[in-house]
Amino acid sequence: MRLLTVLLTMGLALAPAAAPAAAELPIFDAHVHFSHDAADQIALSDAVAILRKAGLKGALVSSSDDAGTQKLYEAAPDIVVPELRPYRRRGEIGSWVRDATVIDYLEARLKRYQYAAIGEFHLYGADADLPVPRRMVELAKQHDLMLHAHSDADAVERLFAQWPQARILWAHSGFDQPQKVRAMLRKHTNLWADLAFRTDQASGGKVDAEWRKAFEEFPDRFMVGTDTFTPERWYFIGEHADWSREWLKDLPPALAERIAWKNGEDVIRAAFARRR
């Protein structure tokens, strides 16, 4: 026991030394999952070490089920911003929209814990108007939460139709063309977009011309994200942060900072702070 304490203290003492250099651009990772299989295969302490080593200032974390998120939040409250996924297990991506028990689950979790958002959920086209998603939107409204939607533009429109004041983080920027993303951002002032699992915004450290226009027109709306959709991709968090730093260098520093972490802090962490 003594030894363990000593080791732990040593670990803590060493931690600042292992932290990234001050010059390194902080990153707010707006797309992290810590689902049951990840929690089973990656020790909590390893997971936290991965976040710290990557130099993350913040991380919007969700998981199927929510237990992983809560554990991670408890272990690293300075980094983790929790969001609530409407999934209890992996594999509910396609079925949740017609599963009324999802609502019971959301209600139970919302009674117990605080979140910045509901998501990330998968929702396409007319499915957005099914009873379960509608009820989920009502819950978000009731609890003043953002929505993190892995959706096509059609479903995003339907969500705004249901709740015009909704604040939506559009996962993967809808995997849409930058021109279309710009049009959506122009139309909806309460829409933000993460760039997770996209590869077209930059290549070889150079920002794509169309994307550059989008970033310049909407400096306050974009965020980066890893998307740890398999447990293995936890090991990509650090690589992703470095990869993002690399292409962000091609933007003016103020704009790079906004996309790297300031938008995440100003929008997502602020949403969480309001709840607490």
Partner: protein, 396 residues
């Protein structure tokens, strides 16, 4: 019971007697694209002894020579065994090298059949030529554990090797490092010659191409049905493309990639390794620097999707190369087909046009796909091409 037996016999007879599915024009075109076989012999412009008969014979000797490893126990041929379709038949080479656990090699030994048609080497494609790849097992402490110095010493001390070296490359008086690069170029020249022979599938494909229905009907119906699914609904041909059944690139089909020390990020680490490799095609060891291959290497971009992608393996002789996948985690072809049949979509992150989806195959459909994969086996055997001794011949 009698009736069932009779029916079964009748079905079997029908199968044996053959028949030809009514392939559509689109299917016929898709099938035709998997040939003709064999294509012209592969050549590597970055290797000045590629295709050189003396170099090939020299390379063959080196490939099997355990003296190249300091402990005298390991050679390329210990892991890439001709009798096992140039694999070791194991999940990973742990047993071959006598190391297991955290320190073991975590990747499956791939076949070398048709390697010469590839453009990236290793499951993560960390090398852009066979010769530069070969430096890895030579130096790796868990593989041959050798060095340029050991290699050069062995070569200079042995009259036979020294003689062969001289005939291919001239005097052996260069720096050890340069000598080592010559050695792997000779080995690569040999590896390139490992082109598999024709398979039942090739007979079928060519018969279809020339409109010979009788000959085509000799190809078992089960294999025909499997092939139809392979080029059709299964979308297998998208990745397992062309005569060698590989598009030469990388994909993520949802195979887990944890290893004891973390993850094997496959193509992601492969690109990082490729770029850092002084022996890549952009380096000074490329014998023809301006070539298209170098441009390919220059243009490789590191992308998030590369994390967890592995090389699309060619499928010729695949029935002889069990176990399967980059980590050897699937024991049989039936297991592979089951993997595609029950694919875990949560592990895939493909947007837009989905290439992969769980096929949910019936037992019959699974067996058909296996029958097709088995029809890609040739009946050829490796015959050593090494000519008579060099040192005893009078050479000038």
């Amino acid at each position: 019971m009698r009736l069932i037996a009779l029916l079964a016999a009748a079905l079997l007879a029908h199968d044996a007697a053959g028949g030809l599915l009514d392939f559509t024009a689109a299917e016929l075109r898709a099938i035709e694209r998997h040939g003709p076989w064999p294509p012209p012999a592969p050549r590597d412009p970055s290797n000045r002894v590629s295709g050189n008969a003396e170099a090939i014979a020299f390379g063959e000797l080196l490939f099997f020579d355990t003296r190249l490893s300091p402990n005298g126990a390991m050679s390329c041929g210990r892991c890439h065994q001709p009798g096992r379709a140039w694999t070791d038949g194991r999940r990973t080479p742990g047993g071959v090298i006598g190391a297991t656990g955290r320190d073991a090699l975590t990747r499956n030994t791939p076949t070398l059949w048709n390697a010469g048609f590839g453009r990236w080497f290793g499951w993560g494609g960390g090398s852009d030529t066979i010769w530069s790849f070969s430096l890895r097992p030579i130096r790796h402490p868990l593989e041959m554990g050798s060095s340029a110095a050991h290699m050069a010493r062995t070569l200079r001390a042995d009259p036979e090797l020294a003689c062969r070296y001289r005939r291919v490359f001239g005097e052996a008086g260069k720096p050890d490092e340069a000598l080592l690069v010559d050695v792997v170029k000779a080995i690569a020249a040999f590896v390139e010659t490992l082109v598999s022979a024709r398979s039942p599938f090739d007979e079928f494909r060519d018969a279809l191409a020339r409109g010979d229905r009788d000959a085509a009907a000799r190809y078992p119906l089960a294999a025909q049905r499997g092939l139809r699914r392979f080029v059709g609904e299964g979308n297998c041909s998208v990745c397992h493309f062309g005569p060698a059944f590989s598009n030469g690139e990388f994909g993520d089909i949802g195979v887990p990639f944890f290893v004891p020390s973390g993850v094997d990020s496959g193509r992601y680490a492969g690109i990082q390794r490729l770029r850092a490799d002084p022996h890549n095609l952009l380096g000074r060891f490329n014998d023809r620097p301006g070539d298209a291959g170098a441009a390919r290497t220059r243009h490789v971009q590191l992308q998030p999707r590369n994390f967890g992608e592995f090389k699309v393996p060619g499928l010729r002789n695949v029935a002889k190369t069990a176990p399967y996948m980059h980590d050897g985690s699937l024991a049989t072809l039936s297991d592979v087909v089951k993997h595609y049949s029950e694919l875990d979509e949560n592990r895939l992150h493909t947007e837009g046009e989905r290439i992969l989806r769980p096929l949910r195959l019936s037992p019959q459909a699974s067996a058909d796909l296996v029958a097709f994969l088995e029809s890609l086996s040739d009946t050829g055997r490796y015959v050593s091409g090494a000519p008579s001794r060099c040192a005893s011949r009078r050479v000038q």
